[in-house]
Symmetry: D2
């Protein structure tokens, strides 16, 4: 049982140079800590709370940047897709296609992701019970592609609030697929700022500790050198300067969990 | 304040003759009762719980059938769309494009639906607070198209269960757009049958009564001559033979609500 | 099927003269509308959010006032009890003992209430499924006293929020006992003001309409001539001057529901 | 930062000899592991789901047995109280009075517990937000007794289900009082067996790991040599034979959490 893999990066691809800096810094940090890294960043925020929010750099430019990161640092990269026709194209540039939580039941997207041959990370919908993810994974696996990851990122709990049921981690692991804990989206407060989602950044490391103690294959943490000025997910991203301390602490728990 | 409009039909388009029968019967019933009818049926069930479930007749065949229903009976028709590129095409055949609840935050789909010029009925996501629908409507309205309907169809409440917060109806009505109550999807039990959603058909008329008393512009009720043998949503659809009694009772409440 | 009974009064017993005024006004109103009235008021608020909040006039003084109201106006009176030993004493002064929602599983209190011979109105706990109220009622009925009422007053929905599942009304009615809808406690926002519960008074008539359309035996609405200066439940109580209009509207729905 | 204290014992006091055996075995185990033990057992199950369920041995007999355990093994003992008048009496026999979750808002009980001079462990109500426990603690502290513990034991999540929001642990710790995680009641499924609560015993150690990683002062785990034949809480209690392994694992996480 190896240490958890880190899936990390800034929420959005901001520019080639920003991606280069962030990926370089994360790569250096993870190498030093002896953990695997999958670099994550989005080319399109397709479901922002309100229309005025920044959408992103676009697919073509974004995939080029991710492809460059992959080549330069020799690390796998992950991005999220929102439409079936994006899957084949994105799979040429990235190693892991991510299915957003709201889209985890869209059959065509799941099948196209599976057929792309890339690994597929599906986030559990906020509206879905953990045991229902077996049906989601089966849709992907029907394509013959079983390189599937299942991610916990919170479940609807009243209005504008998510809760993590930590039982979801072993329940989803019963599928046999690796389970990921998404610490930064779990502390989102959907719509809580009216025109945008709020967040409780301070609880992301707390919930990550809990999840790692329960046992996960990977931890998903969005990070940014200056979250409060990031184009999206500022309230939830961890400042990069805190990442080393957060990860070292998680690794200590991970060693016990897998000891 | 006119009586509520009925949005109804079988969940899936099964065949031209089936659509003809159902639409004819609904048209005759609604004419007799003096209420408006929008005929609803889906050409694709794009987010079934599991892969084995019936998907539907397909877009081209389905739109042709809906278009024929519209012409033959002179009634508006509604169908749901799942991808931005379907909107323009579907809008040539139908009067109302419906955005599924899971997709109510997908900006491109909302914009494409708005730009199609058709009326757009958005279902409130099971993961969304009613006040967050103002942001959803604003995305559509940004296209200049304000023929928008907002539908309550239940909110996540623990696992495999939905609840209707009846306060959602007046809260969504504050947007100024007509509010629809979807009685048959509100009684879904998502994933409750393992590979499929369960349902509590017996509560659909109960919840519809409550919603009509609170006040709605339209009621959405899926119906079928034989729900237990329908290709989808059997546990929730109302047998057609019961529709007259259900509607007469709802109309009595509606008259008081709008009196 | 008679019209619903109204259970109403100010949340707390404030003084003999205040009770006299409120009961007189409610009695006159209900007589005029042709509906039964059970006058409700509490001698002790035993579970306030914080310690500083007003507790009430005390049991002895409170029961005397309720007993006087009963005799003067010839109407049944209801009060809530919080400890088993209060039941026998309170039952000498009032017609209906009410079990608070938080206490609906306390066996000794339920048995003592049943043994008192008074009618017993149990509020469904915010933590309880409607079908679990059959076990609660069975505890009371084991004493041989089957004059039981079951009240819906909201279910926990995330933090500081309640939701009414209107299906609870017919589900609880399956016990055979009359079902009450508590409109004013249903719009409580528990703890939402930090040291006190908030409320959404404007939704109380809305939810009452929904409940009456579904079908209930009684409606519970706390009222006060000046809610904003009442010692408790100010954010939820309906101003007395609005009660006639609210009740007339509810009666119109009730006639349809029971027609 | 010392290791967590264990609060443990069988749900109910079954007999003097059973208490002697269980307390002896737990005392020996905790001494060996170097952790503090508070022996917990109830003399009365005052809020069983249904009337037929076993209530317990009674207060007088129960307190005598707990008092004997305390003297014989020199360990603090805890029991729950359900009425204000029990507090003074119970405080003569036990070190910690526990306020059941359903009763955590009952002012008189909290004050009586505070005034007894015993330490007071209050379980957070399933209907309460973690930040609302500050008001609960303040009621007790108003008596001058600040030996208060706050326990997380799950929050209502839909029907017949609880969820642990692990953020509740640091939020409640902001009060300055020690926070306890109750692993076995957190996996209750209230009312899920119709006439009794169900449970998911297998998840109790999982959730305890998560809580210990987040950081707690004490862990509450009910145990029994033969849970499936225990008079209450059988579906949730951990078999005593598994306790050593569970605790050793928790201690390893605790050392990291407090390292």
């Amino acid at each position: 049982d190896r240490p958890f893999t880190l899936i990390s990066g800034p929420c959005q691809i901001e520019s080639a140079s920003h991606a280069d800096e962030m990926a370089g810094a994360l790569h250096e940090l993870c190498s030093r800590l002896g953990i695997g890294l999958i670099y994550k960043s989005s080319f399109d925020k397709a479901n922002r709370t309100s229309l005025g929010a920044a959408r992103g750099i676009g697919m073509q430019a974004g995939l080029q940047i991710l492809s460059d990161v992959r080549r330069k640092f020799g690390i796998p990269v992950l991005t999220d897709v929102h439409a079936a026709e994006q899957c084949r194209i994105a799979a040429e540039a990235v190693d892991v296609l991510q299915i957003p939580a709201f889209l985890c039941r869209q059959t065509d997207l799941l099948l196209a992701a599976g057929e792309s041959g890339a690994a597929v990370n599906v986030k559990k919908g906020q509206f879905l019970a953990p045991w229902d993810m077996a049906n989601v994974a089966a849709k992907i696996a029907s394509t013959g592609n079983t390189r599937i990851l299942l991610t916990e990122r919170g479940t609807s709990f009243g209005y504008n609030t998510l809760v993590n049921d930590m039982r979801a981690l072993p329940i989803m692991a019963q599928t046999g697929y690796p389970v990921v804990f998404d610490a930064t989206h779990s502390v989102q407060q959907p719509g809580a700022l009216g025109g945008a989602s709020g967040g409780q950044r301070e609880f992301a490391p707390v919930l990550a500790r809990a999840a790692v103690a329960v046992g996960v294959a990977a931890v998903f943490i969005e990070t940014h050198q200056d979250p409060d000025h990031a184009p999206s997910d500022g309230p939830t991203m961890i400042p990069f300067r805190d990442m080393q301390a957060v990860l070292e602490r998680l690794l200590a728990f991970d060693r016990i969990a897998k000891g």
